[in-house]
Amino acid sequence: MTDQEVMLRRIAALDFAIVELNLFMDTHPYDEEVNDKLSSYKRKSKMLREEYEKEYGPLTPRNKEKNQWGWISDPWPWNNDKGEE
């Protein structure tokens, strides 16, 4: 696994926890314990995302003005190699 893949997996794991807890909060809006957990995952994900984007390019089009080519370039999420030639 490349360093980029390792980092992307760590972000995906944190973001999955965020999706899951966010969904839980839809039906349990007053659960403070879960809300605190959610905030902590969001903080960790934000830090890791900034680190990743500095190294490998933007994760969302909102952040692409700093690195237009990084947004365009392979690999795209469905590519399981460096990208297709």
Binding site: R9, A12, D15, L23, T27, P77
Partner: protein, 204 residues
């Protein structure tokens, strides 16, 4: 409004192609109980859903399903990369191949193109939530059936992840149904449709 994220919800990295397996997994892309139908169903039902918790559930699950659609597309794409004509024939993939080459097209395993006829938006919260509970179970059964034909751990792993999500969504929709009926007439949940019958006296 949506913002794309250049990553999958769960990583997919398949080393060995397998067109026969791709041909059955594609059903979760465009089949009757697939992720496209799931997403379209929930995102469409939102508009006539009266309670804020339910609008949130439908928005968040409908959005997650789009991520699952992308995962299924990635699985099919990776399972059919760089195939030779011999491999296509051996995998029974010729009929799909002549129509779509190795493009990812929304169709069921049995060859029916995606149709919204397999889903419903009834505009009645109780009815729509039961549709959603059923949809999650139908998708779960489909993943169970796919797993019967799956012996590649690279494929099994993300399919199991997706299967598990159906169960979690089912749970959330169940809570949603409870939130809905709690707001209705406990002597007769069907006394009125809170989306349509806007009578202030009865809808309190």
């Amino acid at each position: 409004m949506w913002v794309y994220e250049k990553k999958l919800q769960y990583p997919i990295n398949i080393k060995n192609t397998n067109p026969a397996l791709a041909k059955i997994i594609i059903t979760q892309y465009g089949g009757p109980d697939g992720e496209l139908g799931a997403s379209l169903r929930y995102l469409s039902q939102r508009f006539s859903m009266p309670y804020p918790e339910l609008k949130a559930i439908l928005t968040d699950i409908g959005t997650e399903e789009l991520g699952h659609l992308e995962m299924i597309g990635a699985i099919v794409y990776q399972l059919t990369k760089n195939l030779t004509p011999e491999e296509i024939k051996k995998g029974g993939f010729e009929d799909y191949f002549v129509d779509h080459t190795t493009g990812v097209y929304p169709t069921s395993a049995s060859g029916q193109s995606y149709t919204a006829a397999s889903m419903q938006v009834k505009g009645d919260p109780i009815t729509d939530l039961h549709e959603d509970l059923a949809a999650e179970q139908k998708a779960r059964s489909t993943y169970d059936n796919i797993l019967r034909f799956c012996d590649d751990p690279d494929v099994k792993d993300p399919i199991r992840f997706l299967r598990e999500r159906e169960i979690v969504h089912y749970q959330r929709f169940g809570e949603g149904l409870r939130i809905c009926t709690d707001k209705l007439d406990s002597k007769n949940f069907y006394a009125f449709n809170p989306n349509f019958d806007k009578c202030k006296k009865r809808c309190k």
